[in-house]
């Protein structure tokens, strides 16, 4: 006992207690509720164990799996486009010798808007009747208004546009930090050896940048659920579930229908999605670092 009290465990105790209270207990509680028919408006249902009933229902629930698949697609497309645009912006800003700081600050503006506000403004932009986009197109002869937030593909593209506008700067900033840290010698040596710009980018800049790419991907894949507010504001997952993502479905099930047990079962299934993304990006991060150290 004395050994325990004098050991490192004592120093770790405050952290462990806080982590247990803030992370572990809520996780365990929500896991428990996923095995109950817990309704927010009927607290007694928290104590009724129904085994895997919620999970069994979800396995046969086509709406849930369509929302799951759409969320994977949304994540894959949005994150990759944000990466491409962020990389492009970072490369351009890295070339600038005058006013770089000002541009870096300007670039961060979209991050300063709350997702709810972003949702509102893009809902207005894509409004079929009074929206900026349709009015702009009308100037070019497109008389019939385009139902941006109704058509299945266009509605998802519109939401993605809002999300990409809001979050591309996260990638740009992280990748710019990476670009600023790349040593100049290998680039200059490659140029002396006759490499063109593309060869320099592909063989020197990109390998140096890959750890930053995967760090940015990991961070974004974990906090991309912030886009819930954007989707909720723009379409609420509709119409006819055409833009339903896991976040809108879980939120409506848990807080509007008050079926928190079922919502938590959905969340635990979707956690595998987050874990898979995070594991993949960490694996790629380690691989990129190892490759960099070999080279």
């Amino acid at each position: 006992m004395r050994k325990f009290l004098n050991g490192p465990w004592v120093l770790l105790m405050p952290t462990l207690i806080i982590l247990t209270c803030v992370v572990l207990l809520p996780l365990l509680l929500s896991l428990w509720t996923s095995f109950t028919p817990f309704k927010l408006t009927k607290p007694d249902t928290l104590y009724r164990f129904v085994g895997f009933r919620n999970y069994e229902r979800l396995i046969g629930d086509l709406d849930f799996w369509i929302a799951f698949g759409r969320t994977v697609l949304f994540l894959a497309i949005a994150l990759n486009l944000e990466l491409v645009f962020g990389l492009g912006i970072a490369l351009l800003i890295n070339k600038i010798t005058y006013g770089q700081r000002t541009l870096r600050t300007l670039m961060m503006f979209p991050m300063m808007f709350s997702p709810i506000l972003v949702g509102f403004q893009w809902k207005y932009i894509f409004n079929d009747n009074i929206g900026l986009m349709n009015n702009f197109l009308r100037e070019f002869g497109v008389i019939q208004p385009i139902p941006w937030l109704v058509d299945g593909i266009l509605a998802n593209v519109s939401i993605m546009a809002a999300e990409i506008w809001s979050s591309t700067s996260v990638f740009a900033i992280l990748l710019l930090a990476g670009l600023l840290g790349i040593p100049k010698d290998p680039i200059e040596a490659a140029k002396v050896d006759g490499c063109n710009s593309w060869q320099v980018f592909k063989n020197i800049t990109l390998p140096f940048l890959m750890p930053f790419v995967f760090i940015a991907m990991t961070i974004r894949s974990l906090d991309v659920a912030r886009a819930y507010d954007i989707v909720q504001m723009m379409t609420g997952g509709g119409p006819a579930k055409r833009t339903e993502l896991l976040w809108t479905l879980i939120s409506r099930t848990g807080y509007v229908d008050a079926k928190m047990g079922m919502a938590n079962a959905m969340s635990y299934i979707s956690i595998f999605l987050s874990i898979a993304f995070t594991f993949f990006f960490f694996y790629k991060l380690i691989e990129a670092r190892q490759r960099l150290s070999y080279e």
Binding site: D128, N129, V150, V256, A258
Partner: protein, 442 residues
Amino acid sequence: MMLRLFLSLVLAVSFFGSFSAKAETELWGDFSGVTLRVKLIGGGQYEGLYNEVIPWWEENTGGKIEIVTQKNHFELDKEIKKDIASGNLDFCVASNHTSFASQYGNIYTDLNNIMPASVLADYTPLILEHSTVDGRLVQMPRHSDVSNLYYQKSLYEDADNKANFKAKYGYDLTPPETWDQVKDQAIFFSNPPDFYGTQYVGKEEAIAGRFYELVIANGGALFDEDYRPIFNSPAGVEALQWFIDLYNAKAVPDGVLNYLWDDTGLGFASGTIAMNLDWAGWAGFFNDPENSKVAGDIGLVRAPMGSGGLRTGWSGSHSFSMTESCPDKEAAASFLWALTSNKAQMIEARGGLSPTRPAIWDAIIAEKKAEGDEFMLMVFETFKMSLAEDAFTPPLIPEWIEFTNALYPELQAAILGDKSPEDALATASKKATEIMEDAGYF
């Protein structure tokens, strides 16, 4: 504890300008040192009442009101559900609604045991009945809500419109009496994308409620006596087909399935919509030239009839409830009375809202007559008749909101052509059956 509540059985007469409503039973008391924590519905149309009534109540009782939350009703609903789950009901009074009240179990006090009968006698009995859940009066009604049809008068006075309509449809162009006529006229007036015949709220409880009232008007029903869904019926398909036909004919804006109440109200005020089914709360806004392009050109008729010969009349009342856990029930009762008193209801009636006290209907109609305000007089007389003869509530069951969440995506799918009306209603019916089975109805 000594009853501090002092019920002024003097039946004080309240004066509203130069007009007086019927005498009312007042519920004042000395509540010095008492602070009531309250959670209220927020938004432009609701907050004016608080600005007037809260200082009035504080001044007359010595009590204090602490507004803990003020947000839109759907957000407030979520917050109260979280409060129930966490057992953290540390407030005394909250905004409520007849469509929401049955979800909240027994967190709210039975006001039959708290409010003197003479106070309750001042409200419309049918509205008090709708405010009752499982025999418990859990809310004091604030104002009622039913929808009637606003239209642009000049469209119906135009000689060309009259002649062309008669030639095309074979009957005279007059404000519609049936929903089939609404469809004909909406298609006739539409000139997209500049002008549309009508519009509807297109998502969530809003479209589910509109569908519900049309099913009833067509002679159908959502549920049988055991709460088994029966809306997948000829009346249900006919109701859904009405929405589909208008959408396909481009007689409503393309984005209508994302519309809620503000969108339809502002749409009509923008002058680009011929007819708009809406509540009385918009009337003043529609007729205000600063806000509305149709001001001075508005007609209003009772909601039209469906094929079953009934008028649509989906109705409910905004209300206030008192928590069972409230430590100062007498003060809370007094505040509930103040919020729904003659004075309070007259304030809201002047903004166009429909009172829940018969005396205020008489007072506001008398006031508008004396002012010569023909438009608001028409509004109040129409809504009074509609509430008396056409109004009906949705099923007052805890599963109503959950049911509407299962129904509305299927309605949208049919409107967008993703499914046939029969398939959509069959799917919705299956989901509704699961909800009712889980809730133990059968």
